[in-house]
């Protein structure tokens, strides 16, 4: 009987406490000493992984890199006749991936704080990197000079607001991690996004009038914004006529840079023009053929 008891103890042994490192970097193998003698069952329980295996006490236990790839809280439990446990935290490795959002996809030119850039930094196992990491934002317009900004992440994320540049066309914004010394990045990583800058509201909107009998032909000058960008074809321009017959409005799209329409007028008339929130010039017709003021 006593021999059986000795055999049982020699099989299941006596496990002491287990001591885990306070912090482990994701994907890094490490070993821990197992105190005691005999055999025990070891459990490692992590965010995406569970390990259960028999171990020999009194030797070092190797924790493989693949067992600690997910950042977060891990439990180590060692059981023989009773169980003992400890915890450790796996922290993200250095930044290796960027999740980059640029908003909106189209933006009017020369508009302050109109572009939002947001970047999340993840390590090579797609753990959110919570230690501050510098992200370079490089802004490259289709014409004109580009510029860059640097922002450090806080809790894995950084964002900034940018002004749109004065010229229409595509603008490329690149978020990058610089793997140089001092930055928590595994190497050079870049993510590019493109937005389209479009003309802003019309500026100095003007129309010309040609009258022939009761018919008036109205045509705008080329419709441009205050930076000189042509408003796109299809943008609606509204012509409004007020005469003895009443009030009449015609909405017409810009074609080849200008908007054109015709009215029949009765007696004297006033004609105005608008595009979006912008008012243009007003023309008064005195009722005589070809007359205007």
């Amino acid at each position: 009987m006593s021999l059986l008891a000795v055999c049982a103890f020699s099989t299941w042994g006596f496990a002491g406490e287990i001591h885990a490192p306070a912090n482990v970097q994701a994907g890094h193998a490490f070993s821990i000493p197992l105190e005691g003698s005999g055999q025990a069952t070891f459990y490692l329980i992590g965010p995406d992984h569970v390990v259960k295996r028999s171990v020999n006490l009194g030797s070092d236990l190797q924790i493989e890199a693949r067992d600690v790839r997910a950042a977060g809280h891990y439990q180590m439990i060692l059981c023989d006749a009773s169980c003992t446990s400890t915890n450790f935290e796996v922290k993200a490795a250095s930044g290796a991936h960027l999740s980059f959002f640029l908003h909106p996809s189209r933006v009017p030119v020369s508009t302050p704080n109109s572009i939002d850039a947001t970047a999340f930094v993840f390590d090579r196992f797609f753990n959110l990197v919570l230690t501050p990491t510098v992200v370079d934002f490089q802004i490259t317009p289709a014409t004109g000079t580009g510029f860059s900004r640097q922002n450090s992440t806080r809790d894995g994320v950084t964002w900034l607001r940018l002004d749109s540049t004065p010229h229409e066309g595509r603008v490329q914004v690149t978020a990058g991690l610089n793997g140089g010394a001092g930055n928590n990045a595994a190497g050079n990583v870049e993510e590019a996004r493109v937005i389209q800058q479009v003309a802003a509201e019309a500026c100095a909107l003007r129309m010309k009038v040609e009258q022939s009998g009761n018919t008036v032909t109205l045509e705008t000058d080329p419709v441009r914004d205050c930076s000189g960008n042509a408003l796109p074809d299809g943008t609606i321009v509204s012509f409004t006529k007020v005469d003895q017959a009443g009030r009449s409005t015609v909405d017409t799209p810009i074609k080849k840079g200008v908007a054109r329409t015709q009215f029949s007028v009765t007696g004297s008339a006033r004609i105005s023009i608008a595009c979006g929130v912008v008012l243009g010039n007003e023309v008064a017709l005195n009722g005589r053929s070809g007359g205007k003021s």
Binding site: T41, Y43, I45, G46, P47, D48, H49, V50, V51, K52, A70, A71, G72, H73, Q75, I77, C79, C83, S85, N87, E89, F101, H103, P104, D116, T118, F120, F126, N127, L128, L130, D155, G156, V157, W159, R161
Partner: protein
């Protein structure tokens, strides 16, 4: 009242009690309190706040069911992306090793810390009060009840906010 009607009435009452007993534990969601004071760069809408708290509570409810039963199907629709991939893998490992984890959830204090201007992602910190009992088969091998802190990323879908990333981080010492 005839004996047959009496027995029928008794069975109906019994069925109703069983239903409420059976429903009660599975339908009760953990308490989630969301604090969005000072959130930026976008301010939170009231309906969004309510929806996030509800969906996050449902996510933890489902997570507890899944870890206890070792069935990834119990995770439901509340998780997506990295969070779902990791939990499905973990639950698969639980099944293989015979481990399961019972969570007694005493509630979550969520603090929203980042809400993207286009509304596509919200980052939150969850201070959770959880008791976690780890079993190997029927044998209780570990119990833990310390406060826990999670870094959470949630993204909106058509009809809910999904938990896209859920990482436990160390609780800062006070």
């Amino acid at each position: 009242m005839s004996a047959a009607r009496f027995v029928t009435l008794g069975l109906i009452i019994l069925a109703a009690c069983s239903f409420s007993l059976a429903q009660s534990p599975s339908s009760s969601l953990p308490q989630v309190h969301l604090d969005a004071d000072g959130l930026g760069p976008r301010a939170i809408e009231e309906l969004t706040g309510t929806t996030i708290a509800k969906n996050y509570a449902k996510a933890w409810h489902n997570l507890a069911l899944a870890l206890d039963s070792s069935r990834s199907g119990e995770l439901g629709e509340e998780f997506t992306g990295f969070a779902k991939d990791r939990l499905v893998k973990r639950i698969g490992d639980q099944q293989q090793t015979g481990i399961h984890v019972h969570i007694v959830d005493h509630g979550h204090r969520l603090k929203a810390i980042f809400y993207a201007t286009d509304g596509t992602v919200m980052q939150l910190v969850d201070e959770a009060q959880l008791e976690m009992q780890t079993f190997d088969g029927e044998k209780l091998i570990d119990t833990q009840s310390a406060p826990r802190q999670y870094m959470v990323l949630m993204t909106p879908g058509a009809d809910r906010w999904y938990v896209r990333d859920l990482e436990e981080v160390s609780v800062p010492s006070k």
